[in-house]
């Protein structure tokens, strides 16, 4: 395994960074946040249609570029650094991989190309699960009726649901199989926009009451099997870890810039060793988290669902913890201004806590790693 970034990969990262510097600055993010949250539509259109970021990891035969996980995770890192208000993660890291892993002909010939071409945004109404075995947690049911199905159930929190064009809903059939349904906005869905502390990623509650879905609304090939679900989820979890990594770097840099200017006791506060050491420790955590994200991304295409699971769980645990620590240290080291709305640390702080809980909090991922390397608790 080679972990050097290629020249192309570096170029993708650097160009994405430059683009978001210009188009998703703190001012842009604040425009969305001050309006109560949502998607930066202009930004999203450019990213999805003109820059083709959603196409990265979609196979070529489905209209994508067929690149490895590394490119996508570099993009997510850059998005995280800018807190970019757009549904790239839900579209490209949650929905697309699930369609790639489990989709039928329609999914491959219509939906994936539409995502790759930036025509639609998409999300998945997963329960807050981290592991495929928790497919048990899926509470939406699908009852065959005539040619089609009737869907029933609620999913309390779905990322980017309010603006999503396409909503993928895993639902349980009477025989226990988990099927995948693709719902669009023409159906009478009940979507409640949730008010969130972190206004940079919209969340919604989905409620389906005896919803009639035609046969073509079902887009899985043979149901969502455990290992396919595992790989699709692992993609999402790793994408999130990369995003958290980028956010951590940005908030660390913000802090370093501030403490390098602020003078107390006749010297910059950055010159105090207590502060240097705290920043240096964050830097160690950052190096670890980034190495795990890059390692997991580089190995991703070769791993089974189970291997990928442990690797991405590792990246996710460290990236989650890193981002939270980096954000809380940022507030602390900014002093009083760290507590204000005007300075940016709170944006990262809120994102840190919110993203920590998406697709399973670190404790669950630690449990999964322990199960993988020690064996199940009960059998040990």
């Amino acid at each position: 395994m080679n972990l050097d970034l290629t020249a192309d990969q570096r170029a993708i990262r650097d160009e994405a960074g430059r683009f978001l510097d210009e188009n998703s600055s703190s001012k842009d993010v604040r425009r969305i946040v001050d309006a109560g949250g949502g998607t930066d539509e202009a930004l999203w259109r450019t990213v999805a249609r003109d820059l083709g970021w959603c196409a990265m990891s979609i196979p070529e035969e489905c209209g994508g570029l067929g690149l490895d996980m590394t490119e996508m995770s570099l993009l997510m890192e850059v998005c995280g650094a800018h807190l970019a208000c757009m549904p790239l993660w839900s579209t490209a890291c949650l929905a697309a991989p699930l369609l790639v892993e489990t989709g039928n002909e329609r999914a491959r010939e219509t939906l994936l190309p539409a995502i790759a071409g930036g025509e639609i945004s998409a999300t998945v109404a997963w329960p807050a699960l981290a592991h495929a075995e928790q497919l048990i947690a899926i509470s939406v049911t699908a009852r065959p009726e005539g040619e089609g199905y009737r869907l029933e159930g609620e999913v309390a929190m779905v990322a980017d649901l309010p603006g999503a064009d396409l909503i993928l809903v895993p639902a349980r059939l009477p025989d226990g199989t988990v099927a995948l349904f693709a719902l669009d906005r023409t159906l009478p869905l009940k979507i409640t926009v949730l008010k969130t502390l972190d206004a940079t990623r919209p969340l919604g509650a989905l409620s389906l009451t005896d919803l009639a879905v035609p046969a073509e609304g079902r887009v899985d090939e043979n149901g969502i099997g455990a290992s396919a679900a595992e790989r699709a989820l692992a993609f999402g979890i790793l994408g999130l870890a990369a995003e958290q990594l980028g956010a951590a770097r940005a908030v660390m840099d913000l802090t370093l810039a501030y403490i390098g200017e602020r003078v107390q006791f006749g010297r910059t506060i950055a010159s105090f060793q207590a502060i240097k050491h705290r920043c240096a420790k964050l830097e160690v955590d950052f190096a670890e988290a980034r190495s795990l994200v890059y390692g997991a991304a580089a190995g991703f295409s070769d791993w089974s669902g189970e291997e990928a699971n442990a690797e991405v769980a590792a990246a996710r645990v460290l990236a989650s913890e890193l981002l939270f620590r980096a954000a809380e240290e940022s507030i602390q080291l900014h002093g009083g201004v760290g507590f204000t709305w005007e300075y940016d640390p709170h944006l990262y702080f809120k994102r840190a806590q919110a993203s920590n809980a998406l697709l399973g909090a670190p404790e669950g991922h630690l449990d999964a790693i322990a199960d993988a390397i020690i064996g199940r608790g009960a059998e040990a």
Partner: protein
């Protein structure tokens, strides 16, 4: 043969050779002699060096003209991993092979190369590192040992004291950083000398360590003689040579070290399953975290050793020492907690003994080679561009 095939062939050759040779009288050496455990089976480990030399496994990264195999970094890593997997003992020749040799190849005279490299290569001459002094630990520039020119011979007469000198009692030569310019301070006015240990002006006193053994020593010099031809670089240029020497440790051996770290973790998991601690959620999480830390170490090392590290990688590489040493120390504590009250009982159960050694010896990891606090200073200053520590005025 492609690079990947070459590496595979090398792995097979090394694994086979080690399986054939690290047996019989050498079997007790497996997993022994690591950092802190340097005084385990010293004579047998010296013999082991000659055994390695007979298979051309000493100095494999040195260029062929100096007797090495000229292995690439990836190949050296592969060898180190096989060595670690086989339980290869801590290398008595490490300081010569990894530090002195590369320094002489880069800065030494032809005469020095021809006199010193063969002894290192053949496992017949052993080296130790004379940097630290009682008043120059983290603050290495505060060196007080003096080197005085003997005008009659051009030799240097050295007076002063070194301390914490690993393996000095088992070495033939010591390289010494000393002050050669009267009144100079800090990094200026230093000289890098090669000094023969077996001479009247050199006295070695072992220091008993945390584990009861004595790997390191005090070394006293009283007009000890370093020959004129045994100065490396120019007098006054010692700091530069001394730092370059440290730079040769690019961390290739650390990938081999990770193999033994992984074995230690496996051992802890094995015992935790046997004694039921593996059922405790808090222990399960600590084991999971240890596994995560080891993965991070592996990927970080691979990035640092990459052929084309970018600026980010170079900065992140500064974290490596801090990460592995603290990880290893925590592993020692985890091992003891998994053993429970038995951890305190000395017995000849080899597994327990190995974990007790891990617990004690890993405390050195965050001290030598730049302490934790110094690593954090380096990270903050060189990695993050934060202001340098002010110097005080106390003596």
């Amino acid at each position: 043969m492609s690079e990947a095939e070459g590496i595979k062939a090398l792995r097979t050759e090394a694994a086979q050779w080690l399986a054939e040779h690290l047996t019989g009288k050498y079997a007790p050496l497996r997993h022994r002699g690591g950092s802190g455990d340097g005084d385990a089976f010293p004579e047998l480990r010296k013999e082991w060096e000659r055994e390695l030399a007979s298979g051309r496994w000493t100095c494999p990264g040195w260029p062929p003209e100096h007797g090495g195999r000229g292995l690439s970094i990836a190949e050296q890593v592969a060898f180190q991993e096989e060595y670690g997997l086989a339980g290869g003992p801590g290398r008595m020749g490490h300081i010569g092979e990894g530090l002195v040799g590369p320094t002489l190849i880069a800065f030494g005279t032809d005469d020095q190369k021809s006199r010193f490299l063969p002894g290192i290569l053949n496992g017949t001459e052993f080296w130790c590192q004379g940097y630290s002094e009682p008043s120059a630990g983290s603050d290495l520039g505060n060196i007080k040992t003096r080197a005085r020119l003997d005008p009659a011979t051009g030799d240097w007469l050295v007076t002063g004291q070194k301390v914490w000198t690993s393996l000095a009692h088992l070495s033939d030569w010591i390289f010494v950083l000393a002050r050669c310019e009267e009144g100079s301070v800090g990094r200026n006015g230093l000289i890098f000398l090669l000094i023969k240990i077996d001479q009247p002006g050199v006295e070695i006193r072992p220091i008993r360590q945390i584990g009861g053994g004595a790997e390191f020593n005090e070394v006293f010099f009283a007009d000890a003689r370093a020959h004129a031809r045994d100065v490396v670089g120019q007098p006054g240029d010692g700091w530069r040579i001394a730092m370059a020497l440290l730079g040769f440790e690019r961390g290739i051996s650390t990938l081999g070290q990770q193999m033994s770290f992984a074995q230690e973790l496996d051992l802890i998991i094995e015992i935790a399953k046997e004694n039921g601690t593996a059922l405790r959620p808090a222990i399960r999480h600590r084991i999971a975290r240890a596994w995560i830390g080891l993965r991070a170490m592996r990927y970080l090392a691979m990035r640092v050793l990459s052929t084309d590290p970018d600026g980010d990688v170079q900065r992140e590489g500064l974290s490596y020492k801090y990460h592995w040493s603290n990880w290893h120390r925590d592993l020692g504590k985890l091992a003891m907690d998994v053993l429970g009250p038995e951890a305190n009982i000395i017995s000849d159960d080899w597994r327990r003994e190995r974990l007790q050694q891990l617990f004690l010896f890993s405390r050195a990891d965050t001290i030598y080679g730049g302490t934790n606090e110094i690593q954090l200073n380096i990270l903050a200053e060189q990695g993050l561009g934060m202001p340098r520590e002010p110097r005080g005025t106390s003596k």
